[in-house]
Symmetry: none
Subunit: 300 residues, 2 copies
C-alpha cells in the first residue's frame, strides 16, 4: 500500500534544522524523500516522501517529534499562516491505494502523535471528523496565537484528539487525507501587493473564480515581487497551465508581466502532458506517445 | 544501457508477414515493441522497439533473419526506395545511453548480421565508416537492383562488411546510429499550399531557419488544409514547442490560424517537460518534480 506524505514544517530559514527534519524522515527504512522545498519569506518547508503505509507512518511520527524538538512557534513569524511546528500532515494515495486507506492512516497517525508526543490533533479534508473542519484554512483560522486562547474558552475550537490546550511551543498538528494536490505559485514582476491580492481573488474558487483553486496574494520581500500562491486541489479540473494562462491574462490587464512560476513539491505526470497537448494543439496526444511511458519499469 | 531500435522492413502489405516480423522482435526477453506502422503504397513497415542493449541487439538479429526468410526483393516493388529486406536498422540512445554507445552497438550488429546471416552491411549516419556514407539516401542510391550490379564493378560501392555481392534476395542492411528524431506536423486552417511551403522554407535549417529542422509544405486534400510536415533531428536544440511557436507566429503574420498539430510515432519525455517548463515560465523545473519519475521501480 503505497502512500505519499507531504508534511509542512514551520521552518524555512535554518538549514541545519531543515536538514535534521529531512533526516528524521529519510532514515526510516522503506521511505524515500522525493522532494524538499523551503521558503524564507513563508518561513516554511515542505518535504514530500513516499513508501509503504507502515514506514510512512513511522516517518511521519519521527518528523513530528523532530519538529516539536526544534521549532518554537513563539519565535516563528512568516507570511504563511500556521498552527503547528509540524503544521499540516496530509497522507495521499499513490498507486492502488485509496483515499479511504489514507483516512485510516491519518487517524492512526493522529492517535499516535497525541499519545506519544502530546501534541493535539485536528483532522481535515477527507479525514475530518466534523464537516466544519474539512477546509484546512478554516481549521487554521486564528493560527497558533489565536487558537491557543480560543481553545480554552470556545468548545467548538477544541482539537479532535488531545488538548484542550495547544502544545506550548509546537501548537497542534493538522492531519489529513486528500487526493494529490499541486502547490503552484506565480510571481509577478511588481512589488504591488494589491495586484497579487486582486488576481488571487479573481481566480480562487471561493470568490467565483476557477474551480478547485485556492489562491492567496503574498509579498516576496526578498525578491521585490509579489506572488499568487495557489493550491490546485484537482488538477484534472484546473491544471497549472490553465491557471498560468488566466493569471497572465489578468496581470497583462493590469500592465504587469509574469516574472516566473514555481512548483512547490511534486506534480503528477498527467498535468505536464495536459499542458503539452493543449499548448501545442495536439488533440490526439496520449501518454503512450512518450517513449519512456511505454517502457516497463525494469528498464528504469 | 537503454536503446531504441527502429528497423524499416520492405513489407507493408502482407499482414501475416508483418506480424511475424513483429513477433520475431517481441518474443525476445527484455525488449518491448513500442509502435508499428505500415504503408501499402510505400510497401514498407517501421517497428519501434526498446530495451537493454544486449536484448535489443538480439532482437535486431532475429528481425533481420526473419526479414531475409520472408522477403524476396526480386518480388518487391513500392514507392519508397530500399536496398534490403530489412532495409534500415538505426540504433537510438535512450536514458543515459550515448550516441557513441549506439555507434558501437551498430558496428556489433553489422558484424553479427554478416557472420550469422551472410547479408552484407553498409553503415550510415553516426555509425558511418566513410564520410560519403553519412547520408542514408546516398548509401541507398541505385537501390537493390542498381547496387547488386555496381558492387561487382565499382570498388567505391562495396559494402562496409561482407560482399562484394549483395545477398540475392535480402540485399544489404544499412545499419546506423542516430539521435532520437521527432516527426511532428502542424496543420494550418487554410487550403493555400503556398503558405505552408513558405513557412516550411522559413523554418527549415537548409534555408537558414531553425537549427535541426527539416520541413516540407504539403496539401492535405481530404481535410482541406495544408501541413508543415517536419523532422526535428535534435529536439534538445529545437524542441516541438519552439517550432509550434514559430509556425504560429508566421501563420499569424499571414492571417492564418494553426488548426492543430500531430505527432507521428513517439517522442521523448524530455521534449514534453521542456515545453511545460518554458510555457509556464518555470526556470527551476526538473524531471524529478514529476512524481512518477521519482518513484523507485520497486514501488511500481
Amino acid at each position: 500500500m503505497l502512500v505519499e506524505c507531504v508534511p509542512n514544517f514551520s521552518e524555512g530559514r535554518n538549514l541545519a534544522r531543515i536538514a535534521a527534519l529531512e533526516s528524521a524522515i529519510a532514515t526510516v527504512r522503506g521511505v524515500r524523500v522525493l522532494h524538499r522545498s523551503s521558503d524564507c519569506d513563508h518561513h516554511r518547508s515542505v518535504i514530500t516522501f513516499a513508501g509503504p503505509a507502515k514506514a510512512v507512518l513511522d516517518a511521519a511520527l519521527r518528523a513530528t517529534g523532530m519538529a516539536a524538538e526544534l521549532i518554537d512557534l513563539n519565535q516563528h513569524h512568516g507570511v504563511h499562516p500556521r498552527l503547528g511546528a509540524l503544521d499540516v500532515l496530509p497522507f495521499v494515495p499513490l498507486g492502488n491505494t485509496t483515499l479511504a486507506d489514507c483516512v485510516k492512516l491519518a487517524h492512526t497517525a493522529g492517535e499516535r502523535i497525541w499519545h506519544e508526543l502530546h501534541i493535539p490533533i485536528y483532522f481535515y479534508q477527507a479525514a475530518a471528523l466534523r464537516p466544519d473542519r474539512e477546509l484546512l484554512e478554516k481549521v487554521r483560522q486564528g493560527e497558533f496565537e489565536g487558537l491557543r486562547e480560543s481553545v480554552l474558552t470556545d468548545a467548538t475550537k477544541q482539537p479532535d484528539i488531545g488538548g484542550p490546550a495547544l502544545h506550548p511551543t509546537a501548537g497542534a498538528v493538522i492531519v489529513g487525507a486528500r487526493p494529490i494536490l499541486i502547490a503552484y505559485n506565480i510571481n509577478l514582476a511588481t512589488n504591488d501587493l494589491a495586484v497579487a491580492k486582486k488576481i488571487a481573488k479573481a481566480i480562487r474558487t471561493s470568490s467565483g473564480g476557477l474551480p478547485c483553486v485556492k489562491a492567496l496574494g503574498l509579498a516576496l520581500e526578498s525578491r521585490g515581487q509579489v506572488q499568487v500562491s495557489m493550491n490546485l486541489t484537482d488538477f484534472n479540473v484546473t491544471p497549472p497551465h490553465v491557471v498560468f494562462a488566466e493569471v497572465s491574462r489578468l496581470a497583462a490587464e493590469a500592465g504587469i508581466d509574469v516574472a516566473e512560476s514555481e512548483l512547490i513539491g511534486l506534480m503528477p505526470r498527467k498535468a505536464v502532458e495536459m499542458a503539452f497537448a493543449d499548448s501545442l494543439k495536439l488533440p490526439d496526444f496520449r501518454s503512450e506517445h512518450v517513449i519512456e511511458n511505454c517502457l516497463p519499469n525494469e528498464f528504469g
